[in-house]
C-alpha cells in the first residue's frame, strides 16, 4: 500500500520517509523536524530563489519539501560551494548549507511564478546551465509509478542533484520507500551498501550496472532485486541480457529521459530500444516522431526552459523537442544509435568535444587539439584527443602536464583517457576540423 501524504505535499510525504546512510538510519521524525526548522527560516524568502549546496540526499529531500512549503524556488547545486559571482548572477537570495543552515545573501527579485526546482547542470570551464522544472512536472511520472508500487528500498546511485537522482529520491518519497545512500558514491561503497542493506529497487546507468556486476561477482545474485532500471545511456542487449539472467524475478526496464525532455517513457519489456508502434500510439502522454533519423518528442513533462541560456534551437516551429538522439527501425523496434551532434556520452555524463578542446588549447604545450569519442566496453565511450604539441616540448612531459591540467579543470568523465600526439590534424574542405563520428 502506498502511504498517501495528508495533502500530497512533499512535506507530508516526509512523514513516512526513511533514509539509510552507511553510518545509520535517518527516520521521518528527524526529517520532518529538519523540514519544520527549515520552513520557518525560509518563510522570509518566500517568492525568492534559494540555493542548496548540501550534497546529502536527505538534505535534498528536506530542502525540496521545505521550499515547496515556504513558497521558494530552489536551486540544487552539485558542489558544496557556489562562486560569489554566480550567486549574484543567479539572483540567489539565500544559501542552505550542509548543516541546513540558511545564510542570507542579498535581496533579489526573480519575478517568481510558483515553486520551481532549478538544477545547475555540470560545467566547469563555462557557467553551468540552470534547467528549470516544476515540482508537478517532476512528480508527474513519479505519481503514476507510485500507484503501482509497493513499499520498497531504493539504492541511490546518482548524485541527488541530478535529474536521475531526483527521480529516485522523489519516487522513494512518494511511495514511502526507504532510500539507501552513501556519503561518497564510489562503486565499492555503493556495492557494499547494496550487500549490507539489500535494496529491492536500483536505478542506474548501464556503466554503473557493468561496474556493479564486476565488483560484486558471484555475490550479485544474492541481492533481492525486484526492479532494475537503466537510464542515461543506451541500454544495449549485452547488459540487459546479463541482468535478466542474474535477476530472473526482477522487472528489467530502461527509461528514456533527459534534463531537457524530462522523463519521457520507460520500456518495460527488458529489450533494447522501444516498440515501433509507439510512433503511432504515443506512450505515457508523450508523442514521438522521427525526422531525418533523429527522435523528436512532444511531452507534457519537458523542462520548462534554461533560465540563463537560450534554448530556441531545440524546439521545432510546430512544438516538437529535437532530442538529438539518432534512431533506426529494426523490425518492430526503434533502436537508439547515438547522438546526432558530436556530444559524447561517457558513462552517462554528456561531454561536448568543444569544451574539452577549449581547455586543451588554453595550455601552453598545445598548438592544436581535436577531441572525439573512443568506444569502450565499460563506459560506452571515453574521451580521446589528438594533440599537436609545440615543437620544443618533450612528449612524455607534455602528456603528464596536459593530463594534470585536464584533471584539475574538467570533471572526471570529461578528461581525455586516450591522448595521441600527432603532426597535424585533418581539416575538411570547409576549413573546419574534421570531426570523427
Amino acid at each position: 500500500m502506498m502511504p498517501v501524504g495528508s495533502d500530497g505535499s512533499l512535506r507530508s510525504h516526509l512523514e513516512s520517509a526513511t533514509v539509510r546512510r552507511t553510518a545509520g538510519l535517518i527516520c521521518s521524525p528527524d526529517l520532518s523536524g529538519m523540514c519544520s526548522i527549515l520552513v520557518d527560516e525560509l518563510r522570509t524568502f518566500q517568492g525568492c530563489r534559494v540555493a542548496l549546496t548540501s550534497q546529502h540526499a536527505e538534505h535534498v529531500m528536506v530542502g525540496l519539501a521545505a521550499a515547496q512549503a515556504a513558497g521558494c524556488e530552489i536551486l540544487l547545486h552539485r558542489t558544496a560551494s557556489i562562486p560569489e559571482e554566480l550567486l549574484n548572477g543567479w539572483k540567489i537570495s539565500a544559501v542552505i548549507d550542509a548543516s541546513l543552515r540558511v545564510t542570507r545573501i542579498a535581496q533579489h527579485d526573480i519575478q517568481g511564478s510558483g515553486v520551481r526546482i532549478l538544477i545547475a547542470t555540470s560545467g566547469t570551464t563555462s557557467e553551468p546551465k540552470l534547467a528549470e522544472h516544476s515540482i508537478e512536472g517532476l512528480l508527474g511520472r513519479v505519481r503514476q509509478l507510485a500507484r503501482s508500487q509497493d513499499r520498497s528500498r531504493w539504492l541511490l546511485t546518482y548524485h541527488p542533484a541530478t535529474f536521475g537522482g531526483l527521480q529516485v529520491l522523489l519516487t522513494a518519497l512518494a511511495t514511502g520507500s526507504e532510500l539507501v545512500t552513501v556519503t561518497s558514491p564510489t562503486i565499492p561503497a555503493l556495492s557494499e551498501a547494496a550487500l549490507a542493506f539489500r535494496p529491492t529497487h536500483v536505478s542506474a546507468t548501464p556503466t554503473f550496472w557493468r561496474s556493479f556486476l564486476l565488483y560484486l561477482g558471484s555475490r550479485a545474485a544474492d541481492l533481492p532485486l525486484r526492479q532494475i532500471t537503466l537510464g542515461g545511456e543506451i541500454a544495449d542487449e549485452s547488459i540487459l541480457g546479463r541482468l535478466r539472467t542474474i535477476y530472473k524475478d526482477a522487472r528489467v526496464n530502461h527509461i528514456y529521459a533527459s534534463t531537457e525532455a524530462g522523463a519521457l517513457f520507460s520500456v518495460q519489456d527488458g529489450e533494447p530500444g522501444f516498440p515501433a508502434e509507439w510512433l503511432e500510439t504515443g506512450v505515457d502522454g508523450v508523442a514521438l516522431r522521427i525526422q531525418q533519423g533523429v527522435l523528436q518528442v512532444r511531452s507534457p513533462r519537458a523542462m520548462k526552459r534554461y533560465v540563463n541560456k537560450d534554448t530556441g534551437t531545440v524546439i521545432t516551429p510546430d512544438g516538437w523537442l529535437i532530442t538529438g538522439d539518432t534512431v533506426e527501425q529494426v523490425g518492430d523496434r526503434i533502436l537508439f544509435r547515438g547522438r546526432e551532434d558530436a556530444t559524447l556520452n561517457v558513462g552517462g555524463g554528456k561531454v561536448r568535444p568543444e569544451e574539452v578542446e577549449a581547455l586543451l588549447l588554453s595550455l601552453p604545450e598545445v598548438v592544436e587539439a581535436r577531441v572525439y569519442g573512443v568506444p569502450n566496453p565499460i563506459t560506452g565511450t571515453v574521451v580521446g584527443a589528438d594533440i599537436v604539441a609545440r615543437a620544443d616540448v618533450v612528449e612524455s612531459e607534455a602528456r603528464h602536464s596536459i593530463l594534470t591540467q585536464a584533471r584539475k579543470n574538467l570533471e572526471s568523465y570529461k578528461v581525455p583517457r586516450v591522448l595521441h600526439f600527432v603532426d597535424e590534424i585533418g581539416v575538411s574542405a570547409a576549413g573546419k576540423k574534421e570531426r570523427l563520428r
Binding site: 564486476l214 565488483y215 558513462g347 569502450n376
Partner: protein, 87 residues
Amino acid sequence: MRVTRNQLLERIRTTIERIAAEKNLTVPPIAEETVLLGSTLGIDSLDLAAIVVELSEVTGKDPFQDGFIEFRTVGELSDLYRDKNGE
C-alpha cells in the same frame, strides 16, 4: 604484436600505478588476485575504462567486440588479452 602474460600483467600494474599517482593515491602491491574495482586500489569505472583502452592499444585486440565479458581481478583482465594459442 605478441605480448606475453607477464608483459600484460606488468602493463596493467604500471597503468594502475600511474592512474593512482595522478590521483595522489598510494598504491598497494598489485597481485593477480587484486580486485580491480575493489576498495583497495581506489580506481573507478573511468579509470578501468582507461586501462582497457590502453591494453587494446598495446595488444591490438578488442576482447569485448562481441559484447561485455565480466572480469574482477588483474589476472582475469590480462587473460582476456592473451593470445589464444598459448605463449
